[in-house]
Symmetry: D2
Subunit: 361 residues, 4 copies
């Protein structure tokens, strides 16, 4: 009998369950005498030995279901690595669980942070296979990850809904979207939803440039403006600060405004005298039903992760590049971030159809 451990880690996203299903179905079908151990709540389950033996029927009906049946947790890398933290050497605890259960390997469905931990475990000698998941699309090494397009769909729907109201009433609307430090989700949803202004972390904005875009629309008798803004969007003034100063400023702003969009909204109201409405879909973007696209990608990556496990291709991440499966070394992926290039074609194409990125002179 061969035992395969599996866990989901980090923020949940659409199609995590579909990826679990794909991995399990392929393991049971291609392997012989396979047992699957599902760890509860991400690495926490591996640390604290919370797990269950999963049967084929546990993976039934998962294609359409949001969330993750295994539960997840965010266990920060810093915390994991520090043997003193909590008085518990977490890496050692994980290695112990792994060995006592006699795992053939550990399959980790996770995003950027989680795969740093995966890499650490691989360096510590465990056999790890990574499956990339994130709504942020910021994982280096894979063109696409599941979760992203479903989140774009939710975010676009938010803009669509605002659009009908905006067009009926005439006002400035800000829709704040997720994505951490990268702008992919906001860029795609902004393009798909027909936002007039898109603010990304990768392109620091100038509040006066935004105001100019609003006024230019008014001059064309378009009495509403929709701004799609990434939660990590940054002003050019803030971008000029040191990392430490930025961090302090963020903290200060957070006290004043529960979400950064309210801050920008206040600034625009002050400059234009116009009423600004803010919408923050927040965690809605991680939830709901996965798109067909994400279900296909999740099934494909799960299926390939199982094949990697069976042929002993450890220390690597299953990825899809140019529509084809590739596996990339975990060491190449860990700690890297795939960001939006301000000079890329998609930005140029967006500007061509009249979208402002808040940095036009």
């Amino acid at each position: 009998m061969k035992r395969y451990g599996i866990l989901t880690s980090g923020g949940d996203c659409q199609s995590l369950n579909a990826a679990l299903r794909g991995t399990a179905k392929a393991l049971f079908r291609l392997g012989t005498d396979v047992e699957i151990i599902g760890f509860r709540n991400g690495f926490r389950g591996l640390i604290h030995r919370e797990y269950e033996i999963m049967r084929p029927e546990n993976f039934s009906g998962l294609l359409t279901r949001g969330g993750t049946i295994l539960g997840t947790s965010r266990t920060p890398f810093k915390q994991i690595r520090d043997p003193e933290e909590d008085g518990l050497d977490k890496v050692r605890a994980m290695k112990d669980t792994y060995r006592e259960l006699g795992l053939e390997c550990l399959i980790v469905l996770g995003g950027n942070g989680s795969q740093k931990t995966s890499n650490l475990l691989a360096q510590e000698g465990l056999r790890v296979i990574a499956v990339p998941k994130t709504i942020d699309n910021d994982l280096w090494g894979s063109d696409i990850t599941f979760g992203f397009h479903s989140a774009v769909e939710v975010a676009t729907n938010a803009i669509d809904c605002i659009h009908t109201t905006a067009a009926s009433h005439g006002r400035v609307f800000i829709v704040e979207l997720m994505g951490h430090k990268v702008g992919w989700l906001t860029l795609y949803a902004g393009l798909a939803g027909g936002a007039d202004v898109i603010l990304l972390p990768e392109i620091p904005y100038d509040i006066d440039s935004i105001v100019k875009a609003i006024r230019a629309r008014e001059a064309q008798r378009k009495h509403f403006t929709i701004i799609a803004m990434a939660e990590g969007a940054i002003s050019k003034e803030m971008a000029a600060l040191s990392k430490k100063e930025q961090k302090e400023l963020r903290k200060k702003m957070k006290k004043k405004y529960p979400s950064p969009a309210y801050g920008i909204g206040a600034a625009i109201e002050e400059k234009t005298g116009q009423e600004v409405r803010v919408t923050v879909p927040g965690h809605m973007q991680r939830g709901g039903h996965p798109t067909a696209y994400d279900r296909v990608i999740a099934t494909r990556l799960g299926s390939e992760a199982a094949a990697m496990a069976l042929r002993g291709e450890f220390g690597r991440m299953a990825a899809i590049t140019g529509g084809k499966f590739v596996s990339v070394p975990l060491g190449d992926v860990a700690g890297k971030l795939k960001t939006v290039d301000p000079e890329s074609e998609i930005i140029r194409e967006a500007r061509a159809v009249g979208i402002s990125f808040g940095n036009e002179p």
Copy 2:
């Protein structure tokens, strides 16, 4: 030739366009030599003589479209009634426009506030027919209004999305929903989305009761709680204040928190030490595509409003009660509010399935 004026007033909602289409189609079909005058941006268009002559083809393709092709505005009743406000006697201006255009009658698609104005115009001698629209479902005189069920769908979807994340992570989530001073939208979405706690304006909450509900869930090993909260929800302490004191308190809170949910969230965090996440779908609830249900209701009410216009049934609102069309006098409707009865069956049914309304001892 007979001229029929039409306008949409107040917050926009789903199926306003479908109702315009229904009214116009029936007027053109049943009437002879009909002309339809569409006023721009609600009563503002009637005041300032901004309108256009609408042709049958202007009403094509409207069944599925959100918003309103005529535009809308919120022109407060207080402002309308006051002849000195802005130095412009608005009632007189509307009467002048109406007479100069020689309107057969004026059809007003609007909610609570707007129908107060309709009633005023009727009292002033204009021939007015009202069509009820509101996502709040607070209009007295009609069991159902279009907009409500579409808004419930958006709000429920927001809770659904949060649900998958909540179940994966374990936390307290507050979803703040619309509805002004009534709780219908939150009650329905809370029931449909499986919220654990529902806070309504009609049932003042006790923060300790909410905390108790959260702890009861934890005791059952359910590590997340979802609170559906109406924007007008009110604590029992606040409910004990005078209207004036309430107003001042609201103002004060608004300065501190962009939305009331952040305030309750902070209170729960303080009492439980647990992280609370807030989602405010906001204007999304007015937008997006109308449900089939709302399109049917909107078409039916529009069709009946046209029939009323043609048979000279003025000073009344088209309504649906018990599935059947009725017309009710505007004077009976204006200024009344249909609220959730805390002792009603639906509340009892909700409590039976384990929902807390934040006021259990």
Copy 3:
């Protein structure tokens, strides 16, 4: 300990699971020392003693899920009643199971046919409580049943999808919808989707009248026509036949055309020379996620059925009329059909906006 049996019977529909959840949650909460027995696959489980003891956690996560976790079956009333059929006296078998398990009562979630069987069991001395479910909306005694509005949503979406293609290409499209012998589903979806012609079982059609409606649209330079047709729609020629002749004709047609829409399509092609496209969404109409509306109704009815069980209100069906809960005697419900009245207001309203019912002279 008190044991409550529960089963779902007949065609599945949206929110069956939500109704199961509502019933179970309220039973566990309001009752003391409650045990729930879930029978598999409708009455078949009661006949053949296939059941399982259900725990509270079995009813978790069901609000959004389509289908029924208990499974269902269509066991025709004729077959049930006939003690010789299959050599098995099914009524006796059900009574035996009921008694041996010592059931407090049996809760049956079912449509028209199933409630006939419920009534039979009640007459045989079992304590039965009925919960109405059907996408057909043909159940006598309740204004609304869950399933109906979700099915209308799917059917309307089918018409919407066809609409964009129809408008781009120009052709005659028939969308055949469910509903057995009643036209509610087609009437609502046709109204919501903006069908040009609606064919219902309650209003026999004249093929020449349909052709006339198509030509009238062409004369207005509208080069496509969408016909929403109930599966039970009937021509005036067929309506003139005896029941027996109708049955034979249907059989004959079924051999030639897999679905009646193909037959009408061929007739229209022959008369107009125009290409006709047929879409049959079929079982899609029973599936997919329930609307918020249906989830509320299902939860309410389930909650009330539990309350009825606990207060011993047997031999009755939980119903909602005028928005309020009522319970009606099973004997009043069984065997009756709620049909569309051709003279009703909704038909008149639909004709007013230009919809043809295929029987205009």
Copy 4:
């Protein structure tokens, strides 16, 4: 002033309007003194000089709208090329229109067949730019085309809806999907919807292999099987015939069955004695609202087509490969078909999770 002609040709699909909007917005923004001529109903408008001058506001509100505001038609290549057909030399007529209007270039949004015509026009000396659109995803030269993922979403939703019913009742269900001679749409929807059997034109099926898959599921106590079948699916017996014989057989079958799925359904019923239900979503797959993904792709391709037009890059098709824009010569694209490779990774991945392609021994 520079005049740019634009038309949409072939079957309509989601995001055609978004692509028109993208092209127009970029032309008006980047060009100077631009005029856009929109031809009605595809090449037919170019042949018969049916067109209109389009203004910026004509392209407003198109991001979410299905269909094409210009209308479309299928004008077969064979018919176009044949100067005798209809007694009208269509190529000459198109060239005449093009020259008399003094077009700077002609932008053609179309699929496989339409781009053959584009290539012909380019060979005849017209300046043509192609934008790829198709729900079939069979266009050679571009990794992705808009329309495909929206159609996959509709098709997957059809399977999802059937899934809940199938799981509740237990039967064999066939869902017949579009795609002409290629299987992309069925493969993706089958994977996303969790079909048990997928039948593609590229992998001829053996009816006995399908029956075996159904029986294998029964042996695992799974009492339903869902078959996703491409409209172009082909049996191994038929695949062995000559093209001519195939064509004749298809004709014969078409007389007997309105859709090929009914034929396979009958064959399975005969072999297994089990009831088979058929669903044919048909034109629904071209309709409805475009996904966010397709709106992004459509906007990007439209924006790039405008840029190509302005820099004089004629005789080429705008394409996206590996996420990046490329332009490919029309001559390389015309007449080629991108099919599913039976040996490709995605097929292997699908087999690994247990999907049968109906050709397993």
